[in-house]
Symmetry: C2
Subunit: 421 residues, 2 copies
Amino acid sequence: MEKYNALYAQSGGVTAVINASACGVIQTARLHTDTIGKVYAARHGIIGALTEDLIDTTHESSSDIAALRHTPAGAFGSCRHKLGAIEKHRRQYERLVEVFSAHHIRYFFYNGGGDSQDTAYKVSQISKELGYPITCIGIPKTVDNDLPFTDNSPGFGSVAKYVAVSIREAGMDVASMALTSTKVFVMEVMGRHAGWIAAASGLAAENEGDSPHIILFPEIPLNTEAFLKRVQECVKKYEHCSIVVSEGVKNTDGTFISESGLVDAFGHKQLGGVAPVIAKLIKENLGYKYHWAVADYLQRSARHIASKTDVDQAYAMGQAAVELAIAGKNAVMPIIVRDKGDTYGWSVGEAPLEKTANVEVKMPADYITPDGFGITDACRRYLSPLIQGEDYPPYRNGLPVYVKLKNLPVEKKLRTPFEIA
Amino acid sequence: MEKYNALYAQSGGVTAVINASACGVIQTARLHTDTIGKVYAARHGIIGALTEDLIDTTHESSSDIAALRHTPAGAFGSCRHKLGAIEKHRRQYERLVEVFSAHHIRYFFYNGGGDSQDTAYKVSQISKELGYPITCIGIPKTVDNDLPFTDNSPGFGSVAKYVAVSIREAGMDVASMALTSTKVFVMEVMGRHAGWIAAASGLAAENEGDSPHIILFPEIPLNTEAFLKRVQECVKKYEHCSIVVSEGVKNTDGTFISESGLVDAFGHKQLGGVAPVIAKLIKENLGYKYHWAVADYLQRSARHIASKTDVDQAYAMGQAAVELAIAGKNAVMPIIVRDKGDTYGWSVGEAPLEKTANVEVKMPADYITPDGFGITDACRRYLSPLIQGEDYPPYRNGLPVYVKLKNLPVEKKLRTPFEIA
């Protein structure tokens, strides 16, 4: 059986565990040297594939590849770039064939979210459209948890754990100080279109009075009056109020609150930061002293507090992608399938890329309490297993040791550079 | 020997390890029941002492008291309240004597920063001024690391670890995305008057190109031109730039940058948030896509990533406070003494409260690089030992298990309530 090389690439916003998937791909491929030759990685996702900017991972030691499992962010660089349709952008696909052909690449693994699976699907069509035999497998990844078919998306569980741990800790801080100082704390989390991450913070509230007291979801337009009433009730009842707000929360007219509040000294709108707007709303109406935090990239890169379940699943997706390719599958994406029954368990399934691309899964309506400010037991049952287990990285000098790969380039074989549109 | 009760209280901004000091106090007192009767805790610091709002810690189990060691925030509530001078506010001190006397309290342990040690010192004068025999021992605590005599302040090491870990992780995230997305990341950290916390983030930069690339200190007025030049250099050299900014960074005219940038829709100045102002400055002048984070309370409550050295020292300070009291000392505060020589080691010393109160220790000038944007090797040598070691809390359901004490009240014995001025 003739051996061909594989190309792995990372796409879209990176996570605490996308490198665990890379680890799964490379370690599994190294076990199947009878089928797969070298594993190359494209620098910065599909852009590296188009520009022939390839990395030869065979130069990386076994221990460095193993260390990818506990290293956050994208070890090979990621990108935000979608391939256009083949009919309109045929030259791009021809270029990919040139690169694949020049480097004997017949396996392509694309690790990303919905947009990236669209790219993976388009690449998978190359065999049919351009006659070059490429096996293309998508690998799921997104903190937004909005991919279809899979029970959850690798990357999400670790953000979920981070936000729940953080609001538990910060909420206790506020509770300690409330008598004479801060009474209201607002923590902003990611989630422009769906409230999955905000919802996960609700796992921290296990007993009456626990933080967070209020969650603001992008799914529920902010009812200012009801919200302020609830804040006041919390302060009266618990002396303080901890609020988690999704960056995507909207006014009743559908505009983002993050864009409605602040202007700079020149009158320009200030982008980003819904937490200070919410805090100010409370201050102006109720007068409470407040603090606010914006976790931003800290939440999605926090490998130090990653969910073990998430790490295991991210690794399994990378491993399964290679196994699917070896089994002759094409245009599929491995997925996480939750066991039926009360005890949490999961296995690996697969879904067709054609139906995976560009589909955004919303949070079920019955995951949000009728008042719009909390999560239901159904939501809790779904989310809780995803944050289980700790998987601490090694430390040196008091800091986590994250691997930096050599990332040695593959010698270019094409004479013409390629301009990304 | 007649036994008297002890009163312990927490004051000022709480930390990830102030309860470790409480644990040290209570566990040590429980070993000396021949000398110390009950340990009471004042609810919300000195306010609880004045209002006779006392907690009887004898109702707490050994395991719950032990769990204080890994529980962030203030288990008994803290406060921001300074006692006035005895000459002017004699009634307050008489009231303290009434409360102490009613509850057979002759040991007072006050756990806090500079302002709180001022209160502790004033309480220690009660014996002389009002003739009531009270032994008062201060216990150091502050994330600001600005207490005199002690090599470092309990609470600081854990914030230091948090900010260094966070910028390492978020910096890697930005590096992955820089080609097609965010190029500049700004993380705001605490430190209104001194740059200790911002400096600690510099520990994450161990190799050329590591984050953070630029640190902005409150000690160095922002030179906009030099700063923007440096940002541009970083982006050219490393494709991205990670910046840590202290909340207290100032303009060259001495005003806080956090107060200079934003107004709301009504033209009112927006308080807090220097990170968005810095991010916007970069965007407007250099055009780079940016993200920013404000860690706020997350940094000082992050017990999940506490420094073991910090936890050990916080505990030791509580333990030493009781031992000093039993040894007949008064008006002192245990301190951390760093061993001389190249290998880090520390022991417990003591300092007079009279000279501890209201003194703010600044960061040495030679801890900041001449360009004003980084830390020197001397700074690194001082800071590095303080973040060593991990001390993970136990987890249940994927979340850290923090103890919530019963906090049963001590029956009031005084007939008159007391109004706090």
